[in-house]
């Protein structure tokens, strides 16, 4: 899995690409920690380029979300592909981490909240 980071007004976007599984653990954790170090108020994990996400990756998202809450940082998932969206839906992840169609929508929801 490959991650590129991008700062936007109101948060940091992590653009993930490839297969998100256990082997991407360090890459993902490092990217998340880097965002926290920059006092990121909103972490947007863009899944548009992720073709597959396994159970280990779900765990990584969950633990990152827990840590985000402790750091007063919001976390959102952006634009998952259909298969990934189905995996997230079956695990009811939207109950824990909001899923949005695009980054603008995620940022607007924060403003409304």
């Amino acid at each position: 899995m490959h991650i590129t980071e991008r700062s936007i007004r109101g948060g940091t976007v992590l653009m993930l690409s490839g297969e998100f599984n256990f082997t991407g653990r360090r890459t993902f954790n490092d990217a998340v920690k880097k965002a926290w170090a920059a006092n990121c108020p909103h972490l947007l994990v863009n899944l548009e380029g992720v073709a597959f996400l396994d159970s280990a990756a779900l765990g990584l998202l969950a633990i990152a979300n827990q840590a985000c809450q402790e750091k007063q940082c919001r976390m959102s998932l952006i634009k998952p592909q259909p298969y990934v969206a189905e995996v997230l839906k079956l695990a009811n992840i939207q109950k824990m981490i909001p899923i949005h169609a695009n980054e603008e929508e995620a940022l607007k929801m924060v403003v409304r909240a």
Binding site: S55, G59, I63, E86, L90
Partner: protein, 417 residues
């Protein structure tokens, strides 16, 4: 026998600039073998003056005996000798495992290329003409010592590698023994196939990706009239996942959570598991499906925690997804897990997969997916339960075009008469 250890003459010059790994000259033993006493003594003297310890022998046979006792660093042997000539002596030294690393120099008047080739073919390492000057002799001895030092270093490295390899093999065997033992324990937790209780039959396939896997399932009596059913998947693979799965299963024994919160309260059992097994620091969690079958009424009450794919196949071919959206166990404290109820009829089947089965990728990366999995279950439902379960596994393997599953995979089938 003419073993002679002459003292180093006063004023003898030690070789300068010995390469690393070569002993000081006094520690270096050179065996000179020649049937000509004068030539032998002259060469020995040249070497002793450079500080080498010199041993002497009159022919190859005597030289071999001395070599076996003294293990010299270098042998300088004449070619033409009675009893055992230089070539036969060289053969004998190189054939002896304890001596073959000795640097062997043939001392000869033969300087024709064919004879040099013959000497090399018999294992000789170098040649010195009988008329060679003292500096040449010493230079060739020192070159031989360098070669021998490198060979010794190589031998030590080889031995170190062999020792390390042996140690790794031993540790690997111990680990594999432990893993096999743990695997036997995990498998002992799985239910027996066949008739569980009158009217309920069980068949399953359990395919961990490694020796141990994080999938576990069970079918256990929860009281006199309830049958507890579960399948769970501890995230990750291997020993850690297997241990966490085995740990969770202990709470699903009849005398544990089902007794404490009630055998029909699958949602409460799941909530209790969620409380007991929070998300680990490494993000480890469980997906779980729990069912409680009331045997007198055949009402199945079930709850799920992020575990999808379980289906009810009716005898008439209709299919229901036995799924209730809820977070996996460990994802959120206070998560509630709703329970759903269905009544089973004679001929119905409940099929419980782990995600490692329906998430198998084709060679081009496309996942088999729930839809294809469910269709396969449906297509094989007219076969006996055992064959139907096997057929689904076969189809998953066909999809991935590989026998071995990359993730832990399990498939459980229950049939009701």
């Amino acid at each position: 026998m003419a073993i002679m250890n002459h003292p180093v003459p006063e004023g003898a010059r030690a070789p300068v600039g010995l390469p690393a790994g070569i002993e000081s000259s006094s520690a270096v033993a050179i065996l000179v073998v020649d049937d000509e006493p004068v030539s032998r003594a002259a060469l020995a003297l040249k070497l002793e003056r450079r500080g080498y310890r010199v041993l002497q022998a009159g022919d190859g046979r005597e030289g071999l005996t001395i070599a076996r006792c003294e293990h010299p660093d270098v042998i300088i042997s004449d070619w033409m000798m009675p009893e055992m000539d230089g070539i036969a002596f060289c053969d004998a030294v190189k054939a002896d495992g304890a001596l073959r690393v000795i640097y062997f120099i043939l001392l000869t008047v033969h300087d024709q290329p064919e004879q040099i080739v013959e000497g090399f073919n018999h294992g000789a390492d170098d040649f010195i003409g009988k008329t060679a000057s003292t500096p040449e002799v010493i230079a060739r001895v020192r070159a031989g010592l360098r070669a021998r030092a490198m060979m010794r270093q190589l031998e030590r490295t080889h031995q170190d590698l062999a020792d390390s390899h042996e140690l790794l093999v031993q540790k690997q065997e111990m680990m594999e023994m432990d893993l096999r033992s743990a695997s036997r324990f995990v498998r002992s937790l799985l239910p027996k196939e066949g008739q569980l209780v009158p009217g309920v039959h069980l068949a399953w396939e359990y395919l961990p990706s490694l020796v141990l896997g994080g999938d576990l399932f069970g079918a256990v009596p929860w009281g006199d009239d309830c049958l507890g059913l579960y399948i769970l998947d501890a995230s990750g693979h291997g020993a850690s996942a297997a241990l966490r799965a085995a740990s969770l299963v202990t709470f699903l024994r009849a005398d544990a959570l089902p007794q404490q919160v009630g055998p029909r309260e699958t949602g409460k059992i799941m909530a209790a598991l969620n409380h007991l097994f929070p998300l680990s620091e490494a993000g480890e969690y469980f997906t779980v499906w729990i069912g409680s079958l009331h045997l007198p009424t055949r009402e199945l009450c079930f709850s799920t925690a992020g575990h999808s794919g379980s289906v009810l196949v009716r005898k008439d071919g209709r299919m229901d997804h036995l799924f209730q959206p809820a977070l996996p166990v460990g994802f959120g404290s206070g998560t509630s897990y709703p329970a759903k109820r269905v009544t089973l009829q004679a001929g119905d089947r409940v099929i419980l997969p782990s995600d490692g089965l329906y998430e198998v990728p084709s060679p081009n990366g496309e996942r088999w997916g729930l839809t294809r999995f469910m269709q396969t279950v449906l297509d094989s439902c007219d076969r006996p339960l055992v064959q139907s379960i096997k057929e689904v596994i076969v189809q998953a393997r066909c999809w991935q075009e590989h026998h071995r599953f990359a993730d832990d995979a399990a498939l459980v089938g229950l049939e009701f008469e």
